[in-house]
Amino acid sequence: MARMVTTRNKVISTAAAWLVGFLIFFPILWMVLASFKTELEAFAIPPSFLFFHWTTENYVTVQERSDYLHHALNSIVIAGGSTLIAMLIAIPAAWSMAFSPTKRTKDILLWMLSTKMMPPVGVLVPIYLIYRNFGLLDTRSGLIFILCLGNLPIVIWMLFTYFKEIPKDILEAARMDGATIGRELIYVLTPMAVPGLASTLLLNLILAWNEAFWTLNLSTLEAAPLTVFIASYSSPEGLFWAKLSAASTLAIAPILVLGWFSQRQLVRGLTFGAVK
């Protein structure tokens, strides 16, 4: 039996929810609006909300003056590369723990989780020195490597919780029918695992794209992804708000779209299955 909800209650909660949602979203909206203003209008007082001279000039300038695309490409390569490599390492591991668990599986999983608890700043010094000595500072491969390791525990955990939900009976049946492990993997498991794989991929792309500790500390120019590029706007305070906004809008747009798709999986991925 559904609970009766009066129309009045519905109107009130709808209004309240929209108001709160709008307030929370407002800084992003304000930034997007500022990106279409001229620099003068962007910090004019009183501010204009909609009736300003709309322009796309900032987007052009950001690319011309600071080579936005170079940093965007770095972001794509670093986030994409680290995620893909992490998936390649994690899929076999998660598969093995979900389908051939041993007495130690739980301990291994919790140990993997605990490596994620290590604060990056605790190992900043040795990583920085190792990178310096091996010429990995400000290189894409250096960042791919570190982000891959940093996210590996989350990737394994997410995949594990998804694989765990695939009914074992199906595997038994396939084995009874004489399927080899290879066939079992390709024809039985893969189709059932695709949704889990996709959401793991998405969430980790987002995490890697937004990662702002290692990227800020280990890259400066050549390999600098968008997080570092945006940070470079922190020095000339007050002068380039419209351009800062344009660069920021471009930097977060793709991830907002991906994030909206994966919001349900987000909870599961970030709580290690503790909240579903």
């Binding site: 929209w18 910090f43 591991a93 994620k116 190992v123 040795p126």
Partner: protein
Amino acid sequence: MATQQTQLLARTLLTPAVALLFIWMIVPLALTIYFATLHYNLLDPGSESFVGLENFRYFLTDPAFLASLQNTLVLVGSVLAITIILGVPLALLLDQQVVGLSIVRLMVIAPFFVMPTVSALVWKNLLMHPVSGLFAWIAHLFGLPAIDWFNDAPLFSVILIISWQWLPFATLILLTALQSLDEEQKEAAEMDGASAISTFIYITLPHLARPITVVILIETIFLLTVFAEIFVTTGGGPGLQTTNIAFLIYSQALIQYDVGSASAGGLVAVVLANIVAFFLVRIVGRNLEA
């Protein structure tokens, strides 16, 4: 029944991940411990010497350490309090019948997907700037003096920005938990004449205890090492007012090039995080059994 062959295969598949994570955990940590016992400054190469626990004594008695420890605790505590005190009612609101809920939910979750450097700079400039920021204009509308956020209340400003980033996370997790709450239980309580408030206190709140714990632990792990937001807004200042442990270690390592002292600080951070991790791992582990 798993055959020996599949067991062997399973182990082979697991090995690369375990080996990588093991190296990732052991090597940098061992180096950090080693460096922490050395006098080692990058500006003064060749002068490395063993100093035992001297770096720890130096780091722990440095007034900057106490200040940054205090800032870290205030920051973590405040953000936790704000995100949960606002997150619970917000999750309850989104759990109601709301027209256009999916759009509202998108708006609420959005800040979580914004990269930290963008959130920090947009808040600092477009909203909190003492002359041209939107907040200054709003204060002006009400005839109030504008607040010079990053000078008058630097730590609070940083807390505000970080709370905005983490409120969606808390809300989303609490909402997910609320949606798994049994409707019938609530109905039964209502039929028995329980008021909305007592339903909340005796049914909803106990149900939220676990997700709230999870939110607290996970946020703490991330908040203990907040870095980018401080890096692009205040640079730890004015003075030490917004320097947390992570930023202190960063500045000792990459600004003063004092490897020994920064390593000692790094170990302090590891210990702090492990206290939290201990509890989080237990909660997650208990869930694995179920």
